[in-house]
C-alpha cells in the first residue's frame, strides 16, 4: 500500500502543481465570484446615494405610500407638497443638495405615468423599482375601491396551471418543488458526471501513455507491480478530480450563500426560502458521490487500458473512441428525456452499468424510478467495475511494456488470457 500511496502522491502533486490545473480550478471560480461580486458591489454603491430623493405629489393621495415603500427598500425619500414648487427642487438638484425627484400627478393615478427629474438618467434597477412601486400603489388605490378587488388583483398577477397526475397522488406544493429540484439536480449531476468522467478519464489515459512513451514505466515497473502502479495512478488522478470538484462546489456554495440572498434582496421577487428549497438535499449529493466514484473507476480503468495499448497520441485518439461512445450514447439518450420520464424501456437501459452514471442518477434524483432499480444499478456498476478492472489491468500490464503497432482485437484477447 505504501507504493500505491507514493505513486498516488506523485500523480496528484504533479498534476495539482501545473499551471493548467491552478488556472482551471482556482482562477475560474475566483474570477467568476469576483466579477459577480464586483458588479453587485458597484450596483449597490451607485444606488446608495448620499444625496436625498424627493417626491412631489400633485394628487395628495398616493405620494406618502409610494415614499413609504421606497423608504422600506432603503431610499431616503422626502415628500413635498405642491406648495414647494418644481423650480425650488430643480435648484436644489443643480446645487447638488438633491439627487432627483419624482413627479406624481393625476395621470399617474389613471395611467401610471410619472416623471423623474434629475441630472443623471436613473439606473435600470432604480427605474424598475420606481415603476413597480408607483404602479402598484396606484393600482391598490383602484382595487381597494372595488368590492372584489382581491380577485381582480389575483387575476392581474397571473394564473397558474396545476398538474394533477392521474397515476399517483401529488401532495401539493412540496412535491412539485421536489420534482423540479430533482430534475434540475439530476440533469446538472448527469452533466457533471459525464464531463468529469470524460475529462479525468482522459487524464488517466494521458498519464499512462506518457509513461509508456518515454519508457519511464520500464524503470518504475521493475520496482512496483503493474496493479499497484495503475491503482496509484487512478487514485492520484481521482483525488485531483475531487480536489477540483471540491473547490468548485465550495465556490458555488460561497456564491449561493452570499450571492443568492443578495440577488434575492435586489429583486425582491421571491424570498430566500423559495430559492433555497430548490437546492438538493444531502441524500442526492451522496448518491451523486456514489455514481461519481464507481463511474470514475469504471471509465478510468478503460481509459488506462487504451493508453497502455497505444504508442502515440494519434493512435490513442482513435483507440479511445469506443470508450467515449460508451459515455456519449447515454448522454444523448438522457438529453432526449431530460425530465426523467420518456419511454419506460429507457429505465432499463439506464441499468446498463456503463450508462448508469449518466442515465440512472438523473432518474434517481428526479424520483422517476423505484429505489430497487437505483440500488441494482449501483450493484451492477460495482460488478462491472470488478470485471472491467480485471480485463483492463491485464491489458495494461502487457501493454505498457509493448512497443510498436497497436494490438489487434485478437492480440488483445491473448494479452488478457496470458497476462
Amino acid at each position: 500500500m505504501r507504493q500505491v500511496w507514493i505513486v498516488m502522491r506523485r500523480e496528484y502533486l504533479e498534476r495539482v502543481k501545473t499551471k493548467g490545473f491552478i488556472l482551471s480550478t482556482i482562477a475560474l471560480p475566483v474570477l467568476m465570484i469576483g466579477l459577480i461580486g464586483l458588479s453587485a458591489f458597484l450596483g449597490v454603491q451607485s444606488e446608495r446615494s448620499e444625496r436625498e430623493l424627493a417626491l412631489i405629489d400633485y394628487t395628495g393621495l398616493i405620494g406618502e405610500e409610494v415614499a413609504g415603500r421606497l423608504a422600506a427598500f432603503g431610499y431616503e425619500m422626502e415628500v413635498v407638497g405642491a406648495d414647494v414648487g418644481q423650480e425650488e427642487l430643480d435648484r436644489q438638484i443643480m446645487e447638488d443638495e438633491l439627487e432627483g425627484y419624482l413627479v406624481i400627478d393625476d395621470l399617474t393615478l389613471t395611467e401610471g405615468v410619472f416623471a423623474y427629474r434629475g441630472k443623471d438618467r436613473p439606473s435600470s434597477l432604480r427605474r424598475n423599482l420606481f415603476e413597480r412601486f408607483v404602479v402598484q400603489t396606484a393600482l391598490d388605490r383602484h382595487l381597494s375601491a372595488l368590492e372584489d378587488g382581491a380577485s381582480v388583483r389575483a387575476l392581474i398577477e397571473g394564473g397558474q396551471l396545476d398538474f394533477e397526475s392521474v397515476v399517483e397522488e401529488t401532495d401539493g406544493e412540496d412535491a412539485e418543488v421536489n420534482r423540479i429540484t430533482g430534475i434540475v439536480t439530476g440533469f446538472g449531476g448527469a452533466f457533471l458526471l459525464y464531463f468529469t468522467m470524460l475529462l479525468y478519464g482522459a487524464y488517466v489515459l494521458r498519464s499512462v501513455l506518457d509513461e509508456k512513451r518515454n519508457r519511464v514505466v520500464e524503470v518504475v515497473i521493475s520496482s512496483i507491480s503493474p496493479w499497484r502502479l495503475l491503482l496509484g495512478k487512478v487514485l492520484g488522478v481521482g483525488s485531483m478530480g475531487l480536489t477540483q470538484l471540491g473547490i468548485w462546489f465550495a465556490s458555488a456554495a460561497v456564491l449561493a450563500t452570499f450571492g443568492v440572498p443578495f440577488v434575492v434582496a435586489q429583486l425582491q421577487a421571491t424570498g430566500l426560502e423559495d430559492v433555497l428549497q430548490f437546492l438538493p438535499g444531502p441524500g442526492v449529493i451522496a448518491l451523486l458521490g456514489a455514481y461519481f466514484v464507481l463511474g470514475y473507476f469504471l471509465y478510468a480503468s478503460m481509459f488506462a487500458a487504451v493508453g497502455a495499448m497505444c504508442s502515440s497520441e494519434e493512435e490513442a485518439q482513435q483507440a479511445q473512441f469506443p470508450v467515449m461512445m460508451l459515455l456519449i450514447v447515454p448522454f444523448v439518450l438522457q438529453m432526449a428525456t431530460i425530465e426523467g420520464s420518456g419511454f419506460a424501456w429507457m429505465d432499463w437501459v439506464a441499468l446498463f452499468p456503463y450508462f448508469s452514471p449518466v442515465m440512472m442518477f438523473p432518474r434517481a434524483a428526479a424520483g422517476a424510478v423505484p429505489w430497487w432499480m437505483v440500488a441494482s444499478s449501483l450493484v451492477l456498476m460495482a460488478l462491472a467495475l470488478v470485471g472491467t478492472a480485471w480485463v483492463a489491468g491485464r491489458i495494461y500490464r502487457v501493454g505498457i511494456l509493448m512497443q510498436g503497432k497497436r494490438p489487434t482485437l485478437r492480440e488483445l484477447v491473448r494479452w488478457v488470457k496470458t497476462a
Binding site: 504533479e14 519508457r215 520500464e218 524503470v219 512496483i224 511494456l401
Partner: protein, 313 residues
C-alpha cells in the same frame, strides 16, 4: 555466493520473422563486471529486456538470482534502460526521491542519498530544475543516479555511457568500478570495444542475435593469443630481415611481428642473442577485443556487422 546472478539457457526471441536473440546461453556469476558487446541491432537490448522480464522469451529460460525474474528479484536490480526514461516535467530531486521511495527507502533517506549523488555528479545546482530543462547528458546522469540510489545488488545498464563526454564517462566508469568493489554484479551493454576492454572482467560478444564468445576477459585474451610478438631493441632491424621476417609493423618504437611469418619465438630470441642485439622488450602480444571479435564474428561471415561497430551511434 555461488548463486548465479543471471542465467540464460536456450533463449530465443523473435519479433515477427526477425530473430532478435537466437538460442542463447549465458551465465553471469555474482560480483563481476560483465560487458555485453555487439553492434547495434545485434540483440543486446532484447536480452536485457528479457532479463528484466519486460519481454518474455519465445523459448528457453531466463533466470535472475536463481529464478524467474519476478517482481521481488527485479527489485534487487538497478536498471538503466537504453531509451532514457524520465518524468520530464518533474524536478530532478523530486524524481530521484520518488524512485528511491518506490524502492523502499524512507523519504528522508532517499533525499539525503539523492543529494549526495547529485553532488558527486556535479548536479547539485540543478536539483530544483525540471528534468526537461537539463541537457541530454545531464538527464542521463540523473537517470544513472536513479539506478544506483536504492543500493541494489545488481546493476543492469543498457548503453550507460553513450552520449556522455569523456570526462563524465570516466566518472561513471569509476562509480561502476566502485560498486563492483562493494560486491555488486554489473551487466552493461556497449558497442564501444575499448571501453569494455577497460572496464570488464567478463565479456559476452554478440553478433546478429548469436553469441560469439563469452567468458573471463583475461583468459579469453590468453586463449586468443595468435603468437604475434612485439620486440623492442636498440639499433636497426636488419637482423630481423636476415631471419626472413619482412612484414614488420612498427608501433611506438616496437616492432610487431605477426604470426604469418612462421618464425618461432625461440628462433627470434636466438637470433637476437647471436647478433648481439640489445633487447628491451620481448612480448607475446594479446589480441585486442576488437581483433577477437573480428576474428570470430568474421568466421560466421558477419563482416557487415563490423562496419556498424566502427561508426558512432
Amino acid at each position: 555466493m555461488t548463486e548465479l546472478a543471471v542465467r540464460l539457457a536456450g533463449v530465443t526471441k523473435k519479433f515477427g520473422t526477425h530473430t532478435a536473440v537466437s538460442n542463447f546461453d549465458l551465465e553471469i556469476p555474482r560480483g563481476t563486471i560483465v560487458g555485453l558487446l555487439g553492434p547495434n541491432g545485434s540483440g543486446k537490448t532484447t536480452m536485457i529486456r528479457m532479463i528484466m522480464a519486460i519481454l518474455l522469451p519465445d523459448r528457453g529460460t531466463v533466470e535472475l538470482f536463481g529464478g524467474f525474474p519476478d517482481f521481488a528479484r527485479r527489485s534487487r536490480v538497478g536498471y538503466l534502460p537504453e531509451e532514457r526514461g524520465v518524468y520530464e516535467k518533474m524536478k530532478v530531486l523530486e524524481q530521484l526521491v520518488f524512485l528511491g521511495e518506490l524502492r523502499g527507502l524512507v523519504r528522508r533517506e532517499a533525499q539525503s542519498r539523492a543529494g549526495q549523488w547529485l553532488e558527486r555528479l556535479e548536479l547539485s545546482e540543478w536539483s530544483g530544475k525540471k528534468i526537461q530543462e537539463l541537457s541530454k547528458g545531464m538527464q542521463q546522469k540523473v537517470q544513472f543516479i536513479g539506478t544506483v540510489l536504492h543500493d541494489p545488488d545488481m546493476l543492469i545498464l543498457d548503453e550507460p555511457f553513450s552520449g556522455l563526454d569523456p570526462i563524465n564517462q570516466e566518472v561513471l566508469e569509476a562509480i561502476v568500478r566502485e560498486e563492483r568493489e562493494r560486491g555488486k554484479t554489473i551487466l552493461f551493454s556497449t558497442h564501444l570495444m575499448e571501453q569494455a576492454e577497460r572496464l570488464c572482467e567478463r565479456v559476452c560478444l554478440i553478433s546478429r542475435s548469436h553469441k560469439v564468445l563469452d567468458g573471463d576477459l583475461k583468459k579469453l585474451k590468453r586463449r586468443e593469443r595468435s603468437g604475434a610478438v612485439a620486440v623492442e631493441f636498440q639499433g636497426d632491424a636488419g637482423w630481423l630481415t636476415r631471419l626472413g621476417i619482412h612484414d614488420i609493423e612498427v608501433v611506438d618504437d616496437a616492432h610487431h611481428i605477426p604470426v604469418t611469418n612462421r618464425v618461432g619465438h625461440d628462433s627470434i630470441l636466438a637470433a637476437a642473442v647471436r647478433e648481439g642485439v640489445t633487447l628491451r622488450r620481448f612480448e607475446v602480444l594479446e589480441p585486442t577485443l576488437r581483433e577477437i571479435f573480428v576474428r570470430h564474428a568474421g568466421e560466421q561471415s558477419e563482416e557487415p556487422a563490423m562496419a556498424a561497430m566502427g561508426g558512432a551511434r
